[in-house]
Symmetry: C2
């Protein structure tokens, strides 16, 4: 039985983060139309979403700006073209992928439309993540640290990482189930580790789930019940491979009257379903279940999808052989 056992009360500390452009951008190389992005911003405002992640702030020295849409790079002026001075309650986030971005691309917060920098890292790049976190915090940003591929982590390494991060100015520790491999019971155990460390250091905990086993929403609400406050979601689950926790499911579940389900429905109806009709492919399917079950990176399943293959049985033989 969980803390919010009645399902009728709510925790005001809960925050909803829309990651549609960022994780969804991995599906379509960040080629969203300006109309789409503007409509998404307005939908988030109406739905009561707390943060909107615009994309990555990727290094233009490492990545060719001609091969990706602008939200892989998230120039401040591109964000301003959508949000203006953003005199709203909706905060703006970008992702800083450790080793693929540069500190010089981040202005001071007072000069930028960005509020939150989400530092994405693997456990073995924690020192570089700490460097990014300190830089972002010094510039005045809110900062989260999103530890990816957590289903492959050794518990001892994770505890050490959280102790290191606890001593930085980071605000939020994130559980990131990159492979969609976790069951709710495992989320409960991981959450216990994260929440204990967060309480020790005065931090918050977030979760970013993937839907390989149709558990992204279930794992997210399991985490809510266990004390996780920051919840990532994407409209129509748009995100890499099997996608993420669906915003419309999450908003339907949350009881805080600040959140509104209907604007989410309207956005999915008009914009996300159109993307699907236009041939953009993401979401739960057998190949993603297989890599999730095997706790593997979804890259083989994504390639299978891109190649238009439908020989699932043969694919399973291939991925089992990778183990």
């Amino acid at each position: 039985m969980k803390e919010i056992a009645s399902l009728m009360s709510y925790r005001p500390s809960i925050k909803v983060i829309d990651a549609t452009l960022r994780d969804g951008g991995l599906v379509n190389d960040f080629y969203f139309t300006d109309e789409f992005v503007k409509a998404l911003y307005l939908a988030n405002l109406r739905a009561g979403v707390d943060y909107m992640e615009f994309g990555y702030k990727a290094s233009t020295e490492m990545f060719d700006v001609n091969k990706f849409g602008k939200w892989k790079f998230c120039n401040d002026e591109d964000i301003r073209a959508v949000v203006g001075e953003n005199a709203t309650d909706l905060k703006i986030a970008v992702m800083a992928d450790v080793g693929r971005c540069e500190k010089k691309d981040f202005l001071k917060r007072s000069e930028s439309p960005i509020d939150l920098v989400r530092v994405a890292t693997y456990l073995n790049t924690i020192p570089a993540a700490v460097d990014m976190i300190e830089d972002a915090a010094n510039k005045g940003y809110e900062v989260s640290c999103n530890i990816m591929a957590i289903s492959n982590a050794q518990e001892g390494d994770l505890r050490t990482a959280l102790d290191i991060l606890g001593q930085t100015p980071v605000d939020v520790f994130y559980i990131v189930d990159s492979f969609g491999a976790l069951y709710p019971e495992q989320v409960a155990r991981l959450t216990d580790i994260y929440v204990n460390a967060a309480e020790k250091y005065g931090k918050k905990v977030g979760i970013h789930a993937h839907n390989n086993q149709q558990l992204a929403f279930a794992n997210t609400i399991e985490a809510v019940g266990d004390g996780v406050d920051w919840l990532d979601a994407t409209y129509a689950s748009m995100g890499r491979g099997a996608g993420n926790c669906a915003m419309e499911l999450l908003l339907g579940f949350l009881r805080n009257p600040k959140y509104n389900f209907y604007p989410a429905v309207q956005f999915v109806d008009k914009y996300m379903n159109q993307l699907k009709k236009d041939g953009v492919v993401w979401g739960y399917d057998l190949q993603y279940l297989m890599t999730g079950l095997l706790n593997q990176h979804p890259r083989t399943a994504i390639q299978f999808t891109k190649d238009g293959r439908d020989d699932y049985t043969e694919f399973y033989r291939e991925v089992v052989a990778l183990d």
Copy 2:
């Protein structure tokens, strides 16, 4: 933390029930080819499934045999044509829908290929269900009682019903989330009521989930952790509306080496995906999320699907108005 907390052990008392023909038959009016049914039987054998539900034993006086495939009626000779003498560990089940079937259609178990009769009832038809249960038990069958639409039940009524059923020869009490309205936390609470009653009367507990909120699998494994032993699933989630807990997800999760994931993949690959290509439509979509969220029967969402509508926003206005 759940009973099977390690996720590495298993409970030998767990049973997996394939409901593809029965709940999936509600999607295509039970028009499965003989080849499909034979292949399903073989897949279940290879996957280690414990029970295969062939369909309903519907009254031929109430339903026109020319308007449905044969698995709405499940004549013993039709089952025998698939399973022969069924000298296997896979047991055969049919559903007896209270008020829509007749006791005279059930032979003695010794004369029938059927092992298990699943009596489906609403709370307000429990006395008629008891009558069916006693008849089936007297004829030698294993019997379950599947209490439908449990998300609308008053807890007091449910306790009374379980006390009545406890005094019958029924073997299994079933939690049936017909509307796909339950969250895992609610499943945990319901399971507590069912398991306590089951222990009092020496019965087992089962769960049949629907996927309106992408929680069919999550609710099923929540229930497993809470002591539920009988688990319904269907290949590729095929079932009414948003469908059910996917067999391939469930077999991937269960740790008992008697269960095999690969035959399930092969069957989905070859047969279920073909059904989809042939235009049979089921599975999670926004209209089912809406009726699930509102705890309504999915009939309006099914009609929306059948009509080929895609105006989800308008549909939400319609179903909210039904509340």
